[in-house]
Symmetry: D2
């Protein structure tokens, strides 16, 4: 088990660094908004996680690598100690990027030695924390991409993260296919014996009314109709807080859409190019997703409906080098549900709350998920920027309703007519 884990640890660590290959040193250090973090910080923080929760506990003769790092790279773990203020992460031009890579090297080597030396009862416990560290680093891999995308979008020079072949493919012709489900008492949450986050537990029963989910994601073309129909000007379509937010932040289209004369362009990690009507709409907030659904005469699914609909569906990872880091048009048969994973996260109408009987881990790791269960919404699925092997049907992502810089899109639901 540990050998397998060590191999996955190494692969994950390497993957983070490969994601940085296209970056200039300058790109690593800037924090483009308080919600985002510098890439350099992501690289150091994920390393700090292993040093703090694994090395400091199981490495014999452990000494802190750098006492300052314990504060600088602690994100939000109050039980571990003080944290450098989140909105000031962009002040840290030191340690330099090279020093951060050096820090990674050292932790990687010590982790490698540790994993070989674990014995007896500590194996199991350490393995579970290392597994959590791997999953944690995968989450930050997606954040690196979304944060770099946001940073680049602030620059009028429109830097390109990585050029990719566009490779337009035929898109799903049928706009209006719905997959029906019966409802009733269903089981929700993770019940297996692999890894899952604490917020996916415990598996429990939920009563569902009959419902239908659209077979694919909402497209740019469909969303553009909403824009053209004055969707951003009609308060009756919006939640009250959404309407206020949209006006204050002067939203008139999804983030990264650019109106240029008669044409709409889209800023991506690959380029700036004309909006593709067949691709899934992306970088919308919960407020926009909700308003669009209302305008469509439909609604967003609950997270339970989504999970029920995803039961048993294969997760086809599509995150791969060479491919565009951008959602693709649907090219599946309409008879089955498509685009659950690998395109955009899907906003659900479910506020992020604890499952009945939810328990956090003891100690600092108990701060991982539970304390964020307020004023956020659950997103399900996984996006084109989610690392391979990271998600599952019970996976619960969550963001505040105004967040737009993640790869977030829309799947519609509706009540089954009786």
């Amino acid at each position: 088990m540990i050998a397998n884990l060590a191999e996955r640890f190494a692969r994950t660590r390497t993957f983070s660094e490969r994601l940085c290959a296209p970056l200039a040193t300058e790109d690593y250090v800037v924090q483009a908004m308080p919600d985002a973090s510098p890439t350099s910080w992501h690289l150091a923080h994920t390393t700090w996680f292993f040093e703090t929760f694994v090395l400091s506990r199981w490495e014999r003769g452990y000494r802190p690598i750098n006492a300052d790092y314990q504060v600088l790279f602690n994100s939000y773990y109050n039980s571990v100690g003080e944290q450098f203020p989140r909105p000031r992460r962009g002040m840290l031009t030191r340690p330099t990027v090279a020093e951060v890579f050096g820090y990674r090297r050292e932790v990687d080597e010590r982790m490698s030695r540790l994993m070989q030396s674990l014995v007896g009862g500590e194996v199991h416990e350490a393995a579970s924390v290392i597994e959590l560290g791997i999953q944690h680093e995968q989450q930050h891999q997606e954040l690196i991409l979304t944060d770099v995308k946001y940073l680049f979008s602030c620059n009028p020079l429109r830097p390109v993260y990585r050029e990719a072949k566009a490779g337009k493919q035929a898109a799903c012709a049928k706009p209006d296919a719905w997959i029906a489900h019966d409802g009733g008492v269903v089981e929700i949450g993770y019940g297996g014996d692999g890894f899952c986050f604490d917020n996916e537990r415990p598996r429990h029963r939920v009563y569902l009314e009959p419902f239908e989910l659209n077979h694919r994601l909402v497209t740019n073309g469909e969303y553009l109709n909403f824009v053209k129909d004055r969707g951003y000007r009609r308060p009756e379509l919006w939640l009250s807080l959404g309407w206020t937010t949209a006006r204050e932040q002067q939203w008139s289209a999804p983030l990264y859409w650019i109106e240029q004369g008669e044409q709409w362009l889209q800023f991506t990690l690959d380029d700036v190019r004309p909006l593709d009507a067949d691709e899934p709409v992306c970088h919308v907030s919960y407020f926009e997703a909700d308003a669009f659904a209302r305008w469509s005469g439909a609604r967003l699914p609950t997270e339970f409906e989504w999970e029920r609909a995803a039961e048993g569906v294969d997760i086809a990872d599509r995150f791969a080098e060479g491919e565009r880091l951008h959602p693709s048009a649907c090219r599946h048969d309409c008879a089955e549900i498509a685009q659950l994973y690998g395109e955009t996260w899907q906003w659900t109408s479910s506020p992020y709350t604890a499952y009945p009987g939810f328990e956090t881990a003891g100690g600092a790791l108990g701060e991982y998920n539970g304390k964020f269960m307020c004023n956020q919404y659950v997103l399900r699925g996984g996006s084109c920027a989610t690392p391979p092997g990271h998600v599952r049907e019970t996976y619960r992502n969550f963001f505040p309703p105004e967040a737009r810089w993640q790869f977030t899109g829309i799947r519609l639901a509706r009540d089954t007519k009786r």
Copy 2:
């Protein structure tokens, strides 16, 4: 039916004005914070409601009483037209208080005439809007009290709204009695044929795990132990957003608690007096309620658990003139659930969302509830400031998690041990 309605209309309108009897003219016009409104505005807005939704529709030859009022006293109904900005309601020294009372008089008389003249098919429809207007005004009656309380608390002179006999009574001796429930598939929401708000509908099924509710509310004494145990200094007890909010706003006790040397005092509508350990704790935010529950080793109930527990329990209104506008200590037997109504609203762990199949009314009245279903929590019960006859077991009140100026308290729940 209409005769009965007319009588209730008159009673409700009179009651609003009786609530204002203790106020000086000066007290009517000031807006002490953006969340609160001047009393004068409450009086005018509830009147505007009847003018806009009833008179303008069913009164023959209707002409607006004052075109400016349509904007000034529109709270948030975008479908009706523009609104005077909420945070500037305190700028309106005109119409004067006397003019607002004049406005009420005129609308009351025209409403009275209208109710007598309704015929045929319009009776039913008009009656349902008038009923809504009455319920709406009752909601503002409670807000008048909470907003005046907040205003008076800002004044170092500590004005008294109304003096009342304290009348201390024996309190419940037993701190730790829990009422158990089985769970399973239960029915939630209003299923009767009386009045209810749209957000209480439709009645639908929910699956509940077995649970227990404490038989009474958390007391000041119990909450004071949390304060003394450094509850406001221990981040591990708090939601992340709660911790940030508590530090930014420098919370160290419930709103209206005043530390004076060794002693704790409490500002009320009646007076400033020593904190009574037996009375229910009041004026806490969701964040504080949640942190207190965690510290207690318990949790807050869901709104469904609360509704199930309240099933069939009598609503003993205790809002009455002469009595203190302040929650009272529990004096009931511990075998049954107590203090569901008439003391403090009870925070539930349920974010305010739509029930499955929820439908809003058409037109402006559709803006009444649905558009606020975001970043708020449901409160159940009713408080010492809730007008008689206003609530029921399916009633859903809601406020953002940081709100403290309402009469909000805590009832604990826990999972049934298996």
Copy 3:
């Protein structure tokens, strides 16, 4: 001397109250912006001034009238003690207006008795503080008017302070007459033995280059040309901070100008009426005055130029009941300088600084002027809202460059061509 003072004391106190005659009780208590104060507060604060600086010192057996008032109505005298926060003055619905008038009554009576009983050495010292209190109350009389004007302007109902006969008169025909002065070493500051504020002292020498002052104030008509010439859109005309301020606050005309279709209206204390092209422009900030001057190819005068030009000119008070509280068109001969007093305060290009050898009074009264000598500009003259007898040619008024709610206008200056 004291008899005369007592008579002026009484007259000043009465005048303050006469200014309030048109107000409804509601109008007294609201604070429409942090820079403004409620009328009720002005009435109480000027009374507090006499209680604090006169009664508490010279009245035998003095006891505070209300200990809370010492904090509530202290504006900014740190040496006296704590102050109720300025932006929260609008929270104080108590003491009621009637109670504030009662407070005035009591202080007036005790002051009256005190003035009769002063003997020996204390007469002179007390008289000088009472004189300061009178001058201080006169300053607040003008503030009452400007603050009420601002408050009423926030109300869409456009309340009228007092109706007045418009009485249009023939205006000065000649736009471009300049009065020349030689410059050289001149004496500046108050050198007499009557009352003056500490900031007018000591009289001292200043070297001036030859200069010219326009014989009258800039008119609405002239300013409108600046507006039409895109004056608010051309950054090259503005100070950098002025440009930023104008954009942030979305200025496109003077405060209280209202564009209505093709026409410009003006909100005044009397009414809303068409802009009169001949009247002096009013309610402009220093930034606007400065930009207008640059656009005109002229400049603002220094305060020393203004004082030199005003030497020996009669002060014709025009503040009187029945007349409009609004600046009037120039109707004087162009050969002499006109409109120095009684229309609008005139922005000078002089930052508000201490004269060489400036000394503040000891104790709390030393806080009267000196500590505000930063980021403010001197205004000279006096306005249509300045109480009779209050100003003189050495009088220095001062406001921050962004202030617009005072009766502030523009007089142009230019260098004498050599």
Copy 4:
């Protein structure tokens, strides 16, 4: 003349880059506060200045090097066109530092060729703009140092810009020596025929009362006495706006002073080390300088007093490699005025205003100085970070009264006793 200019151009350009030698790539791009700019931006902006004001005008066949740079690196010249928003300069990770150096290379070469090719009447005009560009770049050299210092101070790792030998020397023993001046009508402003900024002109007469200036700067030791005497807690010592600012920003000592137990440390570009009582106090705002002067029973000099006192005094540049970038203790005889240049800028009590007859240049360069003449104070002298050859006795530096991140210190003045 042009040959000399070309040589000075080259030297200045090289000097900017030499200042950057100690920086890591990461240090170039971060903007630590809105008032500061990234080093990379400084390097590009000074280059943009030459491209925009020289090359675009006199280079034959000029084409913009990069159209985006025209916006990105325009600081505040509205006449040139749009500007990238100042507070977002830290978003620009591209162009990379290497690209910015490439941009400098290209402009340097083209400037070099241009200077050789200028002929006839254009020589003089171009030379004067080039001279301005050199002076401009020197100003940014000082800003690079102050901005890097601020950036490094935000980092708990306390990066070192450059280590330097401390070399403590004997300090002036005499604390209280004053140099007297007669006053009278004096000439102020630049009257020579070398370079000066427009704000130093025209030379004109000013009347001064007799005054005295302290022979040296206020030391850390003296300032520490102010701190220990509760200087930051006594409102009577402060300007009103200074008091508010100091409380809001929680000032309790100069910027970069660090209290550690009983000891005071100081963060510098060289290191963090114990506060040296003999060194001039540095990094104080105008507000602190003014409060300190009041506490001392003295005052700040006017800029005219300073200029008069500096008349004919040699400017001993002390900015040199190897030496500390930090002010040094006074080691001069007390009979003469010392430390006018090379240690700290000296706050004067003079608001930054136009001299009588001030004229700005036509076109964009007219925006250089004049439009900032509001809410700023004049500083005189020059600091340890001012490039050699940059200042003169008529030089007017200016900053808002709350600025602390420049090398700003205090020289006291007082009225001559008569």
